[in-house]
Symmetry: C2
């Protein structure tokens, strides 16, 4: 099978919203009047971002999910994406499963595949996603990293640390019951982009970004962009590791996982785990009910984990408000 057959068989579908899709030199998109286009690119490399033998259906899902997560963090509505794929060879069952996982998530969000590139080479997946953000009275409704103000509440969506738990277990660095690994692995391999929450937070959140390199590192970007500091309840964050709540797994007979790891290990997973794709955002205290409403309308759990300070820097405290040393770092591809 050649390059063009491959595209036609697995990735070409009738164009819906775009004026012109896969198959010409460019795709063409007609933005609605009064909207900004939000653009983000993420590249996933085999052996670096995923194991080469990852279930291709989940990999297709994740490849788009990490990009949709960036749109969510901007409060942008997904429109379309391009896919560039470097493949060691043509493995049809792999391609069929990859396309299935990718396009199923695309359909959930009405995000259309409008073009791309395929080439031979080490397995590499590069997606560029386009979304739209309304401009109201000349003001963009996009959620930026730079809007956090002293006194704002700090929130995170969903759960944190499970992806890293799964990664460590798959690497053999820690041992957990099979049911726990299966649940955590779903979070690693098939993360849920918080698109609906991002849209619901327009006009509510003062700043937002998505957690991909770990909470500590990504919060650092938000604080730096906003020129503020923060105090974070490390225990509130640690409690968000879903795999730690054995009741949610329906396997209480195995006993709580707390016994398996030290408190410091749990904190490391939650604070600098990475690959979470949750939204980290701030909102003024008077908007707590609006945040709760955004959480309900998007059916996405949201937890208040701290507050924004005028004093620069990040301060970790435990549940009693006692300071904790911050020995937690973020993921860096070149560190």
């Amino acid at each position: 099978m050649g390059e063009f057959d491959l595209i036609a068989r697995y990735f070409k579908r009738p164009v819906r919203r775009a004026a012109l899709g896969v198959g010409d030199d460019c795709a063409l998109l007609l933005p609605r009047p009064g909207t900004q286009i939000a653009i983000s690119t993420d590249m996933l490399v085999a052996g670096r971002h995923f194991f080469a033998d990852t279930d291709p259906c989940r990999l297709g899902h994740k490849s788009l999910a990490v990009n949709l997560s960036d749109l969510a963090a901007c409060g942008a509505k997904p429109l379309a994406f391009t896919l560039a794929l470097s493949l060691p060879g043509v493995d049809e069952p792999w391609l069929a499963a990859f396309a299935h996982g990718l396009l199923a998530l695309a359909d959930v969000h009405g995000c259309e595949l409008i073009g791309g590139d395929t080439t031979a080479g080490p397995l590499n997946i590069c997606i560029t996603v386009l979304g739209e953000v309304p401009v109201v009275n000349g003001r963009s409704q996009a959620l930026l990293r730079s809007g956090a103000k002293p006194g704002d509440d700090l929130y995170v969506s969903g759960t944190l640390g499970d992806a890293r738990l799964a990664l460590d277990a798959l690497l053999g660095n820690l041992h957990v019951p099979d049911a726990v690994l299966a649940a955590a692995r779903l979070r690693l391999e098939q993360p849920t982009p918080r698109v609906a929450l991002g849209l619901a937070l327009r006009g509510v959140a003062s700043a937002a970004l998505d957690v991909s390199d770990g909470l500590i590192g990504d919060l650092g970007h938000l604080l730096e962009s906003s020129g503020v500091g923060a105090t974070v309840d490390a225990d509130a964050v640690t409690s968000l590791i879903a795999a730690n709540r054995s009741s949610t797994l329906g396997r209480p007979a195995e006993g709580p996982l707390d016994l398996l790891l030290t408190q410091d290990q749990w904190r490391t997973l939650a604070l600098s785990g990475g690959d979470d794709y949750e939204l980290l955002f701030t909102a003024p205290v008077p908007l707590r009910e609006a945040v709760a409403q955004a959480s309900r309308s998007s059916q996405t759990a949201v937890t208040r984990i701290g507050q924004i300070d005028a004093m620069p820097g990040l301060r970790l405290v435990d549940q009693r408000g006692q300071p904790l040393a911050n020995r937690y770092t973020s993921f860096d591809h070149f560190a």
Copy 2:
């Protein structure tokens, strides 16, 4: 040097046209009213699209040039691009040269770097470029592959076959004088995207695409999209190999290269060479003067190489109009 230092040092510049550039989750672009956004993605893999030891400045140029060539083929004006870069490690001189070549070409075309991704992995460069195309009276001015009509003239810009000549010489498959290799190598490593010609052909060309996989293969896509056939003068095409015109190299003492290669080898270079990034386009016969005017205003040579037929298929003829067997194929990454 970490990932964020790398981005800040080599790729972050003040935002100009885009509402928001490198550094947030998404870039934001505010399209002008009455314009379509044209989008294209190309991925370049070391060892496949370029030698790993290619001059990084030229590689930076080429990485963007091949994407701008897609915009040119659509008649789109370059606006902005994202860069995803997978690097085996942080080689600062390499990065500085790559960024220099990339951003110098971006500046020539007013095309702004608005975001992207960097990661560790096998050397891979993925660029997504955005351009704009006016919509006049509800009609897009984009040049598509599908508009060629029987009787239209068939044209190609610039020169063909030099990139393949250089590639074959670098691979040791053929031997040419140093000056010839240097000239041909510039065409391979630093192609000129025909952006100005593409813009000048709006409203003139009936169909267009860029030649990246070789003339025969890419013309096949145009013919298929348009539901037509074509007759091509193979000798007109062969004469476009710049390296073959020893006078242009100022080295007539070395004698013409015709003696080095057979006529069939020359035809193969020109007809199925690839990596040319010239525009292949059609226009109605009454618009010949308009095509000549577009060529002059864009300072880009254009050669008429054949015509569009109602009968499907591609017919090659020599300069006397005698049929030639078509044994020329196109490049396929997975063939």
